[in-house]
Every structure is written in structure tokens, then in C-alpha cells.
Symmetry: C2
């Protein structure tokens, strides 16, 4: 590609709405343009990179026996009503009516469609297992689309669905996909980590997220500093903390005037927050809830929701606390509460002679011994992991990091096959629901995540595998025919050798060309100047390291190809 | 691909709604499944073929300097309001609102989006010419989706847009695309014809359609039997027919009781229909219209609409004829009509001593001499071409055929750049609207058209270039290990040699396997039987011709590759 004709209109001013670096750099480098909030045009450079990510996904899916197909974007409401998700999806689903007033949505995901396809055409165990996938646009009407391609409303996903006759089959395909996903993100040149995840709205029994590690990541990850355990902080398990045995003292209600916060009570009564119980009041679709954690811990609301199996969870306001629970905000506690499901973190149940709210203004209990003094409805792991907490696998301290979720795999089990009656007849003639898994890669998100992870003050640093072009050739003086001729010849040779080269043939100052080369992030820049030309050398600069190598003209093509393999 | 695992669920019963052969065969061969009316799932076989057509389009667009990008499916209403097409598109456009009640449509085409992209980023003639394209899903809410992929509501198109600084630039790119389109349809192995076309709702000054010739085609084509002229019958030009000179007689109004049709009047007055004028009354957004053609000719309403430059045209009813035009249905004519724009076909103006309606019940004029007796508002070519009419280029008779439109190229000129203010500054500093063209290939339609053109009673006959697989290998006896081993080895060798092979490893009777092979339409079927195995031969059957060749095992891979090049 000659840069003079390349449609990559670079920008000097970045719109202020671009808050994160990938969004800023993609706008600046002429890779994307906004068509509407959360809806983007992918310009040629971005589209080249996306096609490469798509091709990597395709090859890895095919390698595992996946068969590619293509499902529609507009999906009839009837199917979504069968699984109940027509309602559950709420405002996040784009909905429309056709000219005959029939309801449709724009597919935010394709479980309903694929399951309805398979239920019509698969009847026997002989037709299983089956792995079907597509690489397709998806739609979610985010309430606040932002961060460029990171949280868009129209985006590209690879989604594969596995169909098995039993649990063992699912287990095999699930780990095949795990392996394929590792290969995909490795081949894309990304530093990533698979982490245990919550299976959330999709449903099912097990899930792993693939996180690209980046400071700007929206997700928290906890990982062990000793073993290979890693999990989304939403999900990371915690064992109950043991507490040394001690003599049990008598429960007492003490006056704590104007002490509403944990810090105030702790100071007034002279204990450390980790010695007390922290009580939070929520309202849910299962009724009012008290959640108890140790004073220095935080409640993990995802775990709490999963523990309760509730759809809705929000902090209770003062009126609920007073009128329904018969308590007082700031003084709430589990002892003598009027009405609430009590969910205690398992560490709480090990505490001895601890403190908690007295359920009346200006009073707290001391010498609380949970097992003796109140009866929790549920005891479970409901707290948020934090730096230094023990790894649930080996006990060593965990560290935390930020990550961008680029892929997720789910064991759906029979959630959709039961809802949509996708059944097969097994070897013994018995009809059973098909056992399913689903596996997604955020293709456009992977491009953005790659930029979040690979950039510097000058622009993007592409891993060679997904760079729009591998090499840019820059003649320093566009008036010097010998430079231009060599550049052109090199361009033709590289192209013939399968290297994707851009030739900056613009009549611009070298500074402009170098700046654009850094911004667009070509892995290699080959500069042709008067001096190197004289010496029959090429100046070859590695974008990532800034290292400059001088290559002999003779045999340079194979040297360049070798260099690219390392990038 | 092993056929035992291939997701191509064949059907025995074809749903009655499948009216045409491509629809029937794609359902039967397990290539497509309906998700909603006009909305289809492309199963693996279909998707493989579509990917090949897409790749052919991509290569030919790239070869002409096209740059691929990807525009969004959901498009903001504002842009469509700027060009006025938010209204013009009517019910055919899928519309939706996002959660903030902002109006969007699902792109039926992308002129608005691409022009708005280019207007923001292109300012100078130095950035032109530019050819940008995408291969993308498009949406049209057809009132009656039918014919499978032929008239769907969600379908795949390749669309390229050219941007030039002047007419000459457009001319160059238009013919580049003409050339690319010929290459695309040739490479797809289709028998096609480029025909002059109407530029219709898209607008602009010139247009050529690419038609795949097929009896089931929805479009009529007129082509010269001597020169290379061809046109859509909607568009085909006709010159005025000359009439021998004759003495002009005196106009007279004669009684023609109960003669309402051309045939009745002709018989009653004793002349041939081609001697008389046929008058049709229409209502349009420009007011009431009389259209005049020779008695044996038909009005071409597309030409009439274009001549009048009107948006709406429909036959006038009796009340309009009576009350607005002051005439009588069945007796309408141009002489003394009360109110109507008179559009006369140019042949009419050459007629001498002809007949027409008398504008009152039971009366016709005779000895009408158009130039003398009435004053048409417009004289133009408004009639429909028919078999035997003279070619407008060489005068030889034209023949007619049916075709399926698979591509169309348009000179848009400045229609969209003016509406959207997409301007550039030329070499002399003057601001001008960009000169545009647009060029579309119906990708999913091309697949269907290929089947319409290439099939027999047993199934599909794929041209090798777009066949989902090139070869199917069928061992006759799936219990015979030697047959299976040879089949497997051949399958591996062919795959390694880049031939896309399917290996029918199913435990089925040979008849079932042969039937499926014919239905799916693999260009070559290699049968491995006991006898040929003994003789070290392969039976190789060409799907299209039925011809069977026996190949020596040794060196068979290269023979098979050569055979495929001819298919």
C-alpha cells in the first residue's frame, strides 16, 4: 500500500470524549470514526487488524473441529420469549418491529438461535458432538457507551456453541476451547491470563474469563503469587479465616453515642475494625437481607447475589431499616433484628467476643459470639478478595491486577436446551436435553485491548501478528530519485515475499512521516537516507524497543522476515 | 471434512413455501435454514461458498485499488434526513429507537454513512480519488420476502463507493468497476450479461446491471442478436419508428358503440391496432397524466416515471378520468382532454391518419394527425421493448431473456455529496462537491443465482471456484477396511495438496452417499469400490457432465487438480 493513497486520515485534535488511550490512538491514527454513540466505522487500518484477529480465531476454532456458519442479526422475539430472556435482557436489547408489527431484536448473543437450529436438525446421539461458530456483529444498547471499542453498542464477536450428549463431552469441548483461547491470545501477541469467573446472566455451571492485563482494565483480577490460581475478584473464592480459641465472654449492650461508622465505634470502644462485625442491609427480590462480614472486609455483591440466587439487590434505605427491620441506620446488627434473611460470611462465624450494631440508636453489642448469639440463615463466602488474602488453592498471598476481558467460556449445561426443548435420543433410546457450552471472543475488543497493553507516548505498538502492515518504508528525501527508487524496489520485493509493506511515498518532511509511522505503530520502520544508501545499508528501527539495526541491502528481505517472527 | 461430522442436515420434505429451485435445493442440502421470513441461517456448506464469493469480490476490489473498511449496521436517522431518504425509503427500511429514543435504521445501503465519513476527513483534491468498500449485511423490510435468498430481508452485499474530483475520474473508476465485476462473475463460473439499467431510487446518471441468465430470473433483458447491446427491458432505449408519408385526411369524430378496448375499436372500424393510438391515464405527484403509445405497444412505466421525474405513478380510476380529465374510461384520448400532462411516445408523433379515443362515451376520432391535432406536453421514448424490436445501436432485431440481477454499478455524480455537503478544494482553490459512484454485488444472491443457473433433477452443480468442497470421496463399502484406508489416505493427500475434500465416512448404503453427493453438488465424486481398488484405479465422476473417468492411483492427485481447473 502506498501511504499517499491509504485512507487513514490522522487527527491532531482528539475529541475530549475519548477517555482511554486505545480510543484516543485509534481516532488519532485514522483507524476508527464514530457514526453514533458506541457505533463505529472501522477504517482500512483497523479493518486489516480485525481481519487478522478474525482469521486467527477461525483457524483455532477449525483446529478444534469447529464448523463455521452465520446466523442472522435480526432475531424473532418468539425464541427469546421461550427462554425468558426477552424480559431479562431489558433495555440493553435493541428491539424493533417489522412492517407487519412482528417483534424482533438485534442479536446481543445467539444461544436462542443456535439452539433452535440444532433442535430442528439434531435428533440422535450419532449427530453429536457438534461445535458450531460464527464471527458476527453483536448489539447491546449500553446505557452509557464509552471507551471507544471497549464498550460499544455494535461490536464484533466470535461465538462458538458446543453440543454434547453428556457432561463428559462438555468437559472435553470446554477444555478444547480453553486451549484454543490460549492459542488465540498468544498468537495475537497479548499478555493475558485465564481467570475463574462468574457465569452471570448467561447462566450455567462454570466459566473462565480471558483477561488482557492492562492498567486501564475495568475488571479486577486476583492471582496467586505462588501457584497458578487466578480469578476475577467478583468470583475469587476465600476460605474462612481461623481465629485462635479464647474464653467466651458474656454478651452486653453498651452505649456508643454518635458512633455510626465502623471507625467511630472502633475508636470509641478501643478495638481494631477486624475485631468487629460489619453489617450491611439490602433489599432484594427475596426480601430484606443482612450481610455480615468482618469489619475490615468488604461484601462482594456478586457472590451475595449468587448465594441468594436473587435477580435484584440494592442497599436498603433508612426507612426500610427502621420500618421493616426494626433497627436504626448506623446501628444495625444481626442480634434481635425484626425481619431479614441473615447471610454471614464464613469468617464471621469463627469470630470470638466480637462487636456488632445494637439495633437501636447509640448502642452496640460487645462480646458477641456468633454461633451463640444469633442464627444466620446462610453461612457462605460473601466477601471481596483483596491483596494479601490467602490463595484458595495453596494459601500463599494473592496479588491483584487490572484486566480487560477479551474472552469467556461457559458451561451452559442444559439451561437453553431445556428451555427450548432441544433434545436427542441417546444410545438406549432415551430422550435427553443436549448438554451445551458457549465460548466468546470479543474481536473488536481484542484490538482495543491490544492497544491498551501496547502503546507509548508516540502511539500504537502492534504485535506483528495483528499489525495492519508489518513494515513501513520511509525515504527521507522524497525529492531524491535514488531513495524513491530503492524504496519502491524494496516495497515490491517485500510484497512479493509476503511481507505486508506500506511505502510512505508522500511528499512530506521526514519528521511527519516518522511521526505517523510511530503513531500507526508499524512493527518495523525501514528508513532510506542519503548516507545509508551510499553504504548499501538499510536503517531498520524496531517500534517496540526503539532499537535500530543496519541491514545490508543484499539478503535484507529474509532478515526482515526473521525479525518479524520475533515481534 | 469427514461427512459423518459435517453439519449439513439434509431434508426429505421441502417446505411448500420454497417456490424456486435454489431455495428448495439449499434447504434440501442442509445449506440454509429460515430464522424468520426472509431471514436465514447460513449453515457450514453455504457459508463456505459465501466466503469464497466474498474472497473473490475482495481480491477484485483490491486489484482495482479499493480499500476495505467496515461501516456500521445501525445508522443514525439524522444522516438519512439530510439526504431526504429517511422518508423516501418508506416501509422498506427497518427502523428502531435506542434506549434514549434516538432514531436509527438498519442500513439498507451505505451512501449516507460513507459520504459523511469522507466529508469529515477529505478536504483536498490531493486525497482523491478514493475507492472504499465493505462486505456487509444489509437489511430491507420487503413487503413479501420470498424466493429464499433471492429476496431476503437480511442479506450480504459487497458495496464500493468511488470518490473523484471530476467527471473524468468517475468515468475511469466506473469502468474499472465494470471490469472488476466481469472478473468476479467470470471467476464465480457464472454465465452473465452486463445490461444497461435504470438508476432508480439510488439516483445518478448511468447504471449497468450484471445479470445471471436464468429462466427463473425476475428481470427481463433485451439483447441484440447482432451487436453486443443489452439492456434491462425497464431501460432498453427505442428509436421512433418512421412511417411512410401519406396524404393527411380530415379529423372526424365517429360513433363506436360499446367499443372500449383497442381490439373492439380496431375490429369495429376495420384497422390493425398498430394503426391506432393507445391512451392510458395515470395519476402522479405531478398531476394527472395521459401516456400515448402505438396501439400494439406497451407503456414502460419506469421510463414514464423517469421522463416525468415523478415519485409516484398509478393508473387513474374512472372517477379521475371523468371528473378531472372530463373524459370517459375506455374512450380517453389526447384531443380536447380537460386536464392532463400529455406524454407521447415519439413513435406516436410520426403516425398519420391514426385513431384515438373521443373523450366521450361511444366515440373515437379517426384521421388523427398528432402534430396537427393535439399538443403533447412531452414527447419521449416511453414504451416497453419487445422481442423483434430494432436494436438502438445497430437496428437488428433484439431477443429477450430472463435474468437475475447480481450486481449493479451507478454513476451517482454529486447527488449525495451535494446533499451531505461533501466538498473538496480543487487545484485552483475552488470548493466543489465530490463526484461519486457506487457499485454493489449481491453476495448471498450470487450464491442463489448460481444454483438457479447450475442444477439438475438430482441437485446442485457447483462451479469449482465457489463449491463448498471440490471433491467428495465415497468408499462404496464402509465395512471394507481397504476401501476406508484408501479413502482416508486419499483424503489426507488431497487436503495436503490444497484440494478441499470431503470424505464420506458414514456407515450408509452407497445409494444414500451418491444421492447426497449429487444433491450437495461436489464438482467431482471419487468412488472407491472393490473392483477399481483391485485394478489400482479410482472412479472419478464429473458432476456437471456425468462423465466418468478412471484414474490411475499413481499421480492421481495432480490429475484431480487439473480436472478441477476445468470445472
Amino acid at each position: 500500500m502506498k501511504v499517499s493513497t491509504l485512507y487513514a486520515p490522522t487527527l491532531r485534535e482528539i475529541p475530549s470524549e475519548a477517555e482511554i488511550i486505545s480510543h484516543q490512538l485509534m481516532l488519532k491514527a485514522g483507524m476508527i470514526r464514530k457514526a453514533a454513540p458506541g457505533v463505529y466505522n472501522y477504517l482500512p487500518l483497523a479493518w486489516r487488524t480485525l481481519k487478522k484477529i478474525i482469521q486467527i480465531c477461525r483457524e483455532e476454532m477449525d483446529a478444534k473441529g469447529g464448523q463455521e456458519l452465520m446466523m442472522p442479526i435480526i432475531q424473532p422475539a418468539e425464541l427469546w420469549k421461550e427462554t425468558g430472556r426477552w424480559t431479562v435482557y431489558g433495555d440493553e436489547m435493541f428491539r424493533l418491529k417489522d412492517r407487519h408489527s412482528r417483534d424482533f431484536c438485534l442479536g446481543p448473543t445467539h444461544e436462542e438461535i443456535i439452539t433452535s437450529l440444532v433442535r430442528a436438525d439434531v435428533q440422535s446421539y450419532r449427530q453429536l458432538p457438534l461445535m458450531l461458530y460464527q464471527i458476527q456483529d453483536k448489539f447491546r444498547d449500553e446505557i452509557r457507551p464509552r471507551f471507544g471499542l471497549m464498550r460499544g453498542r455494535e461490536f464484533i464477536m466470535k461465538d462458538l456453541y458446543s453440543f454434547d450428549k453428556d457432561e463428559e463431552g462438555l468437559e472435553i469441548n470446554y477444555w478444547k476451547m480453553y486451549d484454543a483461547y490460549c492459542k488465540i491470545f498468544e498468537r495475537c501477541g497479548l499478555s493475558y491470563r485465564p481467570v475463574e469467573a462468574d457465569s452471570g446472566a448467561i447462566g450455567g455451571s462454570g466459566s473462565i474469563e480471558f483477561m488482557v492485563i492492562a492498567k486501564s482494565g475495568e475488571a479486577g483480577i486476583a492471582y496467586c503469587t505462588a501457584c497458578d490460581y487466578a480469578a476475577n475478584v467478583e468470583q475469587a473464592e476465600l476460605k474462612a479465616i481461623e481465629v485462635p480459641a479464647a474464653d467466651v465472654k458474656e454478651l452486653a449492650l453498651v452505649n456508643t453515642p454518635n458512633c455510626r461508622t465502623m471507625a467511630e465505634v472502633a475508636e470509641f470502644l478501643g478495638f481494631e475494625p477486624e475485631h468487629a462485625i460489619k453489617t450491611l442491609a439490602y433489599i432484594t427480590d427475596k426480601g430484606p437481607i443482612l450481610a455480615l462480614v468482618r469489619g475490615d472486609h468488604e461484601v462482594n455483591e456478586i457472590k451475595l447475589k449468587n448465594t441468594l440466587d436473587c435477580l435484584f439487590l440494592a442497599m436498603a434505605d433508612d426507612i426500610v431499616v427502621r420500618e421493616q427491620m426494626g433497627s436504626e441506620a448506623g446501628y444495625i446488627g444481626p442480634i434481635g433484628i425484626k425481619e431479614a434473611i441473615i447471610v454471614a460470611d464464613h469468617t464471621v462465624m469463627n469470630m470470638v467476643n466480637t462487636e456488632c450494631g445494637g439495633n437501636k440508636q447509640d448502642f452496640h453489642f460487645i462480646n458477641v459470639n456468633p454461633v451463640r448469639d444469633f442464627k444466620p440463615t446462610i453461612v457462605a463466602d460473601i466477601r471481596q478478595i483483596k491483596e494479601g488474602d490467602p490463595c484458595p488453592h495453596c494459601g500463599n498471598p494473592v496479588a491483584t491486577a487490572r484486566g480487560i476481558e477479551v474472552g469467556q467460556i461457559f458451561k451452559l449445561q442444559t439451561k437453553y436446551s431445556k428451555a427450548l426443548n432441544a433434545v436427542f435420543v441417546d444410545e438406549t433410546g432415551i430422550e435427553k436435553p443436549i448438554v451445551m457450552g458457549c465460548y466468546g471472543v470479543g474481536v473488536s475488543r481484542t484490538m482495543a485491548a491490544s492497544i491498551e497493553q501496547n502503546n507509548d507516548k508516540d502511539g500504537i505498538i502492534w504485535p506483528a501478528a495483528i499489525a495492519p502492515y508489518h513494515v513501513v518504508i520511509v525515504p527521507v528525501n522524497s525529492k531524491d530519485n535514488r531513495q524513491i527508487e530503492l524504496a519502491e524496489s524494496l516495497y515490491n520485493q517485500l510484497t512479493a515475499a509476503g511481507v505486508e509493506a506500506a511505502f510512505d511515498d508522500r511528499d512530506e518532511r521526514p519528521g511527519v512521516k516518522f511521526k505517523d509511522a510511530d503513531l500507526i505503530g508499524y512493527p518495523l520502520r525501514i528508513t532510506i537516507g542519503a548516507k545509508t544508501l551510499e553504504d548499501n545499508l538499510l536503517e531498520c528501527k524496531i517500534r517496540r524497543t526503539g532499537e535500530v539495526r543496519y541491514l545490508k541491502l543484499e539478503g535484507c528481505i529474509s532478515v526482515i522476515k526473521d525479525m518479524l517472527l520475533e515481534l
